[in-house]
Amino acid sequence: MSADVELRAGGLPPPPDTVGPSAWLRQNLFGSWPSTIFTVVLGALLAMLAALVIQWVLNARWGVVTDNLRLLLIGQYPFEEAWRVWLALVLLSVLAGLASAIGGGAIRTLANWLAAGQAMLGLLALGSGLGLHVAGALLVNATLVWLAFFVGLRWPVSRRHLTLATLVYVPVAVVLLQGVGGTPLSVVPTRFWGGLLLTFLLAIAGILLSFPFGVVLALGRRSNLPAIRLMSTAYIEVVRGVPLVTILFMAAIMLPLFLPGEVRIDAVVRAVGGITLFSAAYVAENVRGGLQAIPAGQLEASDAIGLNAFQRNVYVVLPQALRAVIPANVGLFISLLKDTTLVAIAGGGLLELLGIGNAVLANPQWAGARLEIYAFITVVFFVLCYAMSQASYRLEAQMGVGKR
C-alpha cells in the first residue's frame, strides 16, 4: 500500500517518444506532410535571406558610421568640450549602478543595458577615428556601472539618498552640458547639441515630464468638479486629434513668430514642451483605464478609514491604477522615444540621431551610403526600445501585475 502511494507521488516517467529535442522537432516542425513541406520551404527562404543580409553587411560602407561617429553621438557639440558629455554619463552610470544594487529587477535591467550600450558604442569608437579617449571613456563607463553595482551591494545607499541624488543629477547634468557664462564651463548653445545625445535628452525629458502631467489630467478627467473635468477632457481630446508633427512644427516654427521679439524660448525646450504636451494626453487616457479598473470597494474602504480625497488617490488609487497600466505606458514611452525623430522633420534646426543621419547623407562623399546609416540608426533605436520593454517586463513581475 505505502509503496503504491509513493510510486504515485513520484509519478511514472513519460513515454520515451514524447520528450527531448527529437520529439519536439517531430511535434512542431515535422508533424504532418503539409507541416514538413512548410518547414523546409520556409527554412530555405530564411537561409537565403540570411545569406543576402550577411553578404550586404560584409560589403557595406561602414565608414559612414565610423567616420561620422562623433556627429552621430553628440552632433555638433564642440569636440574639445565633449568631456562634459562623458562626465554626465559617468555620473549616470554610477547612479544606475548604485540604484540597481538596492532596486529591483527593472532598474537592474536598465543599468545592464546602459552598461552594454556604452560598451558597444565604446567598441565602435575603438574602430573609428574618434580617438582612444572617447572609446576609453565609454568602456570605462560601462565597467563603472557594474563596479558601482558591487560597491552598492557591499555598502548599500539608502533609497532616500539615491532619489535625492537623482533629483540633483538632472539639473547638474543640464548645467554641465549647457555650461555657465563667465566660468571655465563655457556655454554650449543647445543648437549644437545633437545626435544620440539629443535623442536621449528629448526622450528622457519627455517621459519624465509627460508622466506626472498625464496622471494629473487623468485625475482631472474624473474629478467631481465640472470645470476641471471639462478642461481636462477638452485638452485630452484636442491633443489626441492633432498629429505630433503638427505640434512640433508649431513649437519649432510658429511659436517664435507669435512671441514678441525679446522673448526667446530655447529650441530644445520648445521641442520637449511639444513632446510632453502631446504625450501627456495619451498617458492620461492610459491612466484613466487603470483608474476605472479600481473596484468601488477600495474607495469605500479608504473613506471608511478616514482618508481624504488626496490621500485616497496617492495611497490607494494611484498605486494600483498605475501598476495596472505599466505595459500600456511603456508601450507609449517606446513610441515617444521613436517619435523624437519627428523633431528632425518639423524643422527648427534640431538634429537628433535621424537628423544627423540625414545631414551626413547630404555630404556627397557619403551619398551612396543611405542604407548603412539607416541600418545603424535602426539598430540603435532597437536596442533602446528593447531595453525599455525588457525593463517593463521586469517591472510588471516585480509589482505583481495581474495578481490581486
Partner: protein
C-alpha cells in the same frame, strides 16, 4: 477597551442636558452614541429606506437582519456616509451627519467599518493595510503605528501574516486583517456589513470569534449578519428590517422565542432550519 485611548471618552461633546435639536424632546442622553430619526434614502426612484428610527447605546451590540434588498446594508452605510440619506437626522456621538466634509470626517474617525468583500488594499501588506490610516490620518510616527498594528494583528490571531499581501491570505485571514485595520483608527463604533457572507464555511468561525471577543470588550457594534448563533450569543438587541423599515426589534430571547410580527416569524422560519 483596548481599541481606544482612555482620554477620548472624556472628549465627547456634552449632550446630556441639552436636546440635540432645540425644541425636541431631551430623551437623547450621553450614552446614546448613534441616533437615527426618520432616515429616508432613495436610489433614483427606488425608495430603499422608508423612515428608520434607531437609537444605539454606547457599548451595545446590535445585529441587523432581514431579506436581501431590504435596505439593511444601505442603512448602516448611511451611518458613516458611504451612502447619503436624503431625509431625517443621524447623530453619531453628538455630531450631526451633514454634507459638511468636516462633519463627515469627524464621524468617520469614530466609526470603523468591515465589509463583506474585505476591501483590503491589495498593493499593501497586511501590516501596511492596518497602519495606513494611523500614519496618514492620525499622523502617527511609523514606529508607533507599526507597534500598535502588530498588537492588533496579534489580537485577531494572525501576527505571523503581517508581511504578506492580501492575495496570499485566506478569506478568513483577510477579514481579520480588515477588522484590525478598522480598529487601528481607534473607533468608538464598529459597523459590520455581512462580514462572513463571502467566507467559506470553515472560515466563518475564526471571524465570528474575533467579533465575539470585540463585543466582550465593550465596543459598540452594528452587525448586518445572518449568523443567528452569533446573534443569540452576543447581541444585546436584534433588529429586523424589511422593505426599508424596522419591522421588529428586541433582545434575542424575544426575537427567537416570541416574535411579535408575522413577517419576523416567517423570515426566521426560512433561515432557521
Amino acid at each position: 477597551m483596548w481599541a481606544r485611548d482612555e482620554g477620548q471618552v472624556t472628549d465627547q461633546p456634552q449632550v446630556t442636558d441639552q436636546p440635540l435639536v432645540p425644541g425636541q424632546t431631551p430623551d437623547v442622553t450621553r450614552s446614546d452614541i448613534i441616533v437615527c430619526r426618520d432616515v429616508h434614502k432613495w436610489f433614483g426612484q427606488l425608495h430603499v429606506l422608508r423612515g428608520i428610527d434607531l437609537t444605539v447605546k454606547s457599548g451595545e451590540v446590535i445585529v441587523i437582519f432581514g431579506p436581501s434588498g431590504s435596505g439593511k446594508s444601505t442603512f448602516i452605510r448611511t451611518i458613516n456616509r458611504l451612502e447619503e440619506h436624503q431625509r431625517g437626522d443621524i447623530f453619531v456621538d453628538g455630531i450631526e451627519l451633514t454634507s459638511d466634509i468636516r462633519n463627515i470626517a469627524a464621524i468617520r474617525s469614530e466609526i470603523g467599518m468591515v465589509f463583506q468583500s474585505f476591501n483590503l488594499f491589495p498593493h499593501l501588506t497586511a501590516l501596511q493595510n492596518v497602519t495606513l490610516g494611523p500614519i496618514r490620518v492620525r499622523r502617527w510616527p511609523r514606529a508607533k503605528a507599526d507597534q500598535k498594528a502588530m498588537e492588533l494583528l496579534e489580537r485577531v490571531g494572525i501576527p505571523e501574516q503581517a508581511h504578506k499581501h492580501p492575495a496570499q491570505l485566506s478569506g478568513g485571514q483577510q477579514q481579520r486583517v480588515a477588522i484590525a485595520r478598522a480598529l487601528a483608527m481607534q473607533p468608538k463604533i464598529m459597523l459590520f456589513d455581512e462580514p462572513t457572507s463571502a467566507l467559506d464555511p470553515e472560515m466563518i468561525n475564526e471571524v465570528l470569534e474575533v467579533m465575539r471577543e470585540l463585543a466582550g470588550s465593550g465596543m459598540t457594534m452594528l452587525c448586518v449578519s445572518h449568523e443567528m448563533g452569533f446573534a443569540r450569543a452576543v447581541a444585546d438587541r436584534m433588529v429586523f428590517i424589511d422593505e426599508g423599515v424596522i419591522v421588529e426589534q428586541g433582545p434575542p430571547s424575544q426575537i427567537f422565542g416570541a416574535p411579535e410580527q408575522e413577517r419576523t416569524k416567517q423570515f426566521l422560519s426560512q433561515i432557521l432550519h
